[in-house]
C-alpha cells in the first residue's frame, strides 16, 4: 500500500467507527457520553504515522481517533463503549477513559488538561531509563488555558524532555469560541515563551502534517527538547453526543462549510483510484462489523468487579 492508501484507510476506519457509534447510539446500547472526533481524524493519523509503535500517546476524552490511529484494539474499544468486560478497561472507564498500554495508548482522562503533565512525567521516566521513546501529548485549544499546560511546558522545556505537544485546535471548548477564552489566538506564542519550538499546522492535510510531524519527532527523539504543534481542525458533530448541532446557534453551518470541503477523508479519497477506495472501504466495514458483533456478544462484568482493582496488592 502506498502512503495515501494507508492514510485513507486509517482516516476512513476512524470515521466509520464513529459513524457506527452514532448510528447505534439511539438504541441506548452505548450508555456513555461520546465525544466524536469526526472531522478531526487527520491530526491523530498524521501524527501517529510519525511515531514508532514503542512511542506513547496520551489522549483526551475525545480520544477514539487517537486510540485507533496509535493501534489501539478496536474490539476492546467498542466493547468498552458497550460496557462489556471485554472492553479495554473491563467496562469501568467507558468512552472517556480509553487505554491500550500494549499499543502505547496511555489512559485518557475526562478532566481537561490532566494528561498533559502525565505525558511529561512519562517522558521523564524515559530519560531516567535512557530509552529513546517519544511521548505525544494531545489536548484541545481549551486545555491550553489550564495552568497545568504551562507548568508542564516549562518543566518539559527545562529538562528537554522527549515530548511532542499536540494541540488539536478545533476553535471551540464545548460551545465557547476561542476568542471568548483567549485574548491572543496564537497558541504557538505560549509555547515559544518557554523556548519550545512551535508550528501551526493544517490538520486536514494528512501527508503534510505527517511530514512536519516526522521532523518534529526526530528532533524530539534526538534530545533537542519538546516541540509544540498546533493543528488546526474542526469538529463536525456536537461537543458530546452523536448529532450535528449547527442549529444550536453557537456556530453556523456556513462556518463549517470550508471545513467540510477540506474534510481529510475527502482530500485523501480524491487522490485514490475509486477501485482502491472501494476495496479499502469493504475491508474496513468488515472489521467494524466484527468489532460491533464482538461487543454485542461479550458479557457485562460480573458483580465482583465492582470492588476489584481499586488497589494493586503485591501477591
Amino acid at each position: 500500500m502506498n502512503q495515501t492508501e494507508v492514510f485513507y484507510r486509517q482516516v476512513l476506519r476512524i470515521r466509520r467507527v464513529e459513524e457506527e457509534v452514532a448510528r447505534v447510539y439511539p438504541t441506548d446500547k452505548i450508555k456513555s457520553p461520546v465525544h466524536l472526533s469526526i472531522g478531526q481524524e487527520g491530526v491523530s493519523v498524521g501524527i501517529c504515522a510519525a511515531l514508532r509503535k514503542t512511542d506513547v500517546v496520551c489522549p483526551t476524552y475525545r480520544g477514539h481517533a487517537l486510540y485507533l490511529a496509535k493501534g489501539g484494539d478496536l474490539n476492546a474499544m467498542i466493547a468498552e463503549l458497550y460496557g462489556k468486560v471485554t472492553g479495554c478497561t473491563r467496562g469501568k472507564g467507558g468512552s472517556m477513559h480509553l487505554i491500550d498500554v500494549a499499543a502505547g495508548v496511555l489512559g485518557a482522562s475526562a478532566i481537561v488538561g490532566t494528561t498533559i503533565p502525565l505525558a511529561v512525567g512519562y517522558a521523564y521516566a524515559q530519560r531516567v531509563k535512557k530509552t529513546d521513546t517519544v511521548v505525544a501529548s494531545f489536548f484541545g485549544d481549551g486545555a491550553v488555558d489550564e495552568g497545568a499546560f504551562h507548568e508542564s511546558m516549562n518543566f518539559a522545556a527545562l529538562h528537554k524532555l522527549p515530548v511532542l505537544f499536540v494541540c488539536e485546535n478545533n476553535f471551540y471548548s464545548i460551545h465557547s469560541p476561542q476568542l471568548a477564552r483567549q485574548p491572543h489566538a496564537n497558541l504557538c506564542d505560549r509555547a515559544s515563551s518557554y523556548g519550545v519550538k512551535s508550528e501551526q499546522l493544517d490538520g486536514c492535510d494528512v501527508p503534510e502534517l505527517y511530514a512536519r510531524a516526522q521532523a518534529a519527532v526526530e528532533s524530539v527523539r534526538a534530545g533537542d527538547g519538546p516541540r509544540f504543534l498546533e493543528c488546526m481542525t474542526y469538529r463536525f458533530r456536537e461537543h458530546v453526543g452523536p448529532n450535528e448541532d449547527f442549529h444550536a446557534g453557537y456556530r453556523s453551518r456556513e462556518e463549517a462549510e470550508p471545513w467540510f470541503a477540506r474534510d481529510p477523508l475527502r482530500l485523501l479519497g480524491q487522490r485514490l483510484d475509486p477501485i482502491v477506495r472501494t476495496r479499502i472501504e469493504a475491508e474496513v466495514e468488515l472489521e467494524i462489523a466484527d468489532a460491533f458483533a464482538f461487543a454485542e456478544s461479550s458479557p457485562f462484568p460480573p458483580s465482583e468487579e465492582l470492588l476489584a482493582d481499586v488497589y494493586l496488592e503485591a501477591q
Binding site: G87, S95, E146, S173, V240, G241, A248
Partner: protein
Amino acid sequence: MTRKLSYAEALLEATHQEMAHDPSVVVLGMGVDDFRGIYGTTKGLAETFGPERCFDTPLSEDAMTGVAIGAALGGMRPIHVHIRMDFVLLCMNQLLNIAAKARYMYGASVSVPIVVRSVIGRSWGQGAQHSQGLHSLFMHVPGLKVVAPSTPYDAKGCLVQAIRDNNPVMFVEHRMLHFQRGTVPEHLYALPFGHARVLSPGTDVTIVGISYMAVESLRAQSLLAEVGISAEVIDPVSLLPLDVDTIAASVAKTGRLLIVDTAWTSCGATAEIVTAVFERLGGRSVPFRRLGYAAAPCPTTKNLENLYYPTPATIAQAAHSLVRGDKQPWQPRSVEAPEVVEFKGPF
C-alpha cells in the same frame, strides 16, 4: 403557593431574583452563558443582566476561583458554577487556603461572600471523574459553609441565603435533583443555614438522606411502609453548620439511625453525623448504619454502576435490619429511580 418548579428552575429563579435585587451579584463559570445554561439554571442571565454580570470562563478553575474571591474582596457577590463537582478539585487551594481563611487570617478586615455551585454527576456512564460527591472535604474546613438542599423549595431558599451570606458557601447540587419538581413560592425568600428538614415523619428509624439520597430515602420509606416500618426521613440541608439537634432529637425518638450519602463514607458526612449525634446523645447509644458509594471509583458500565449507589431497596433493607434485626431477611422490590433511568444527558 402551589406553583411547581423543577429544582433547576428554582435555582434559576433564585439567581435571577437576587441579581435583579443586588447589582453586586455576578455569575461566572464555564458555559454559564451558552444555550444550555448549566441545565437551564443560568439560562438567560447574560441576556438579562449583561455579559459583565454573567460570564463564561476559560478552562482555568484554579485562577477563576481566585478571581471570584478577589471580586468578592472588591465588593461583588460572585456565584462560581461548576458543571461537575469533580472540577472543584482544581479549586481546593483557593477555596481552602484563601476563601475559608481570609476573614480570620486578616483579623476580620475582609469577608469573602462567594457561592460555589457544583453538581454531582450520575448515570449514563459518567464514570470515576464525573460522579464524585466531595462535600465532606469542605465540611472539614472551618470558614466554609456547605449546603446540599434536595427539594426545589429549599434549593431556592438556600441559594438566596448562600448569595446573601457573607462567607464562602459550597452549594452542592446533584444532577438527578435538577429534574425534581415541587412547590416553590414566587417571592424571594432566604432559608437560614443550620436547619435540617424532617421531610416525612416516622417512629421506628431515622433515615438521614444527604442531597439526592433524601429523594431515594423517601422512596425507601414507602417500601418500608409496605412492611409496617415507619421511617422518619430527614434532609440535613445544611451540612456545615450541621443541625445536630434535629437529627439527634429524631434518633432519641426512633432509637435507630441510618445515614445515606451520595459520597464515600470514610471520613464522610455519614461519619460526622454518626459521631455528632452520639456526642449529642451523651451516654445513650443506638443501632446505626451508614450507606454511601461503594469504596471504589465509580465504574461506567450500567450493571456495576447500579451496585455502586445506595438505592431505595438497599436503603430500605438497611433500615429494616436496624429495626427487625438481620435474622429477618427481607428483599424489597427494587425500584430504579425514574430520573436515573431516563437520563441520557445533556451532560
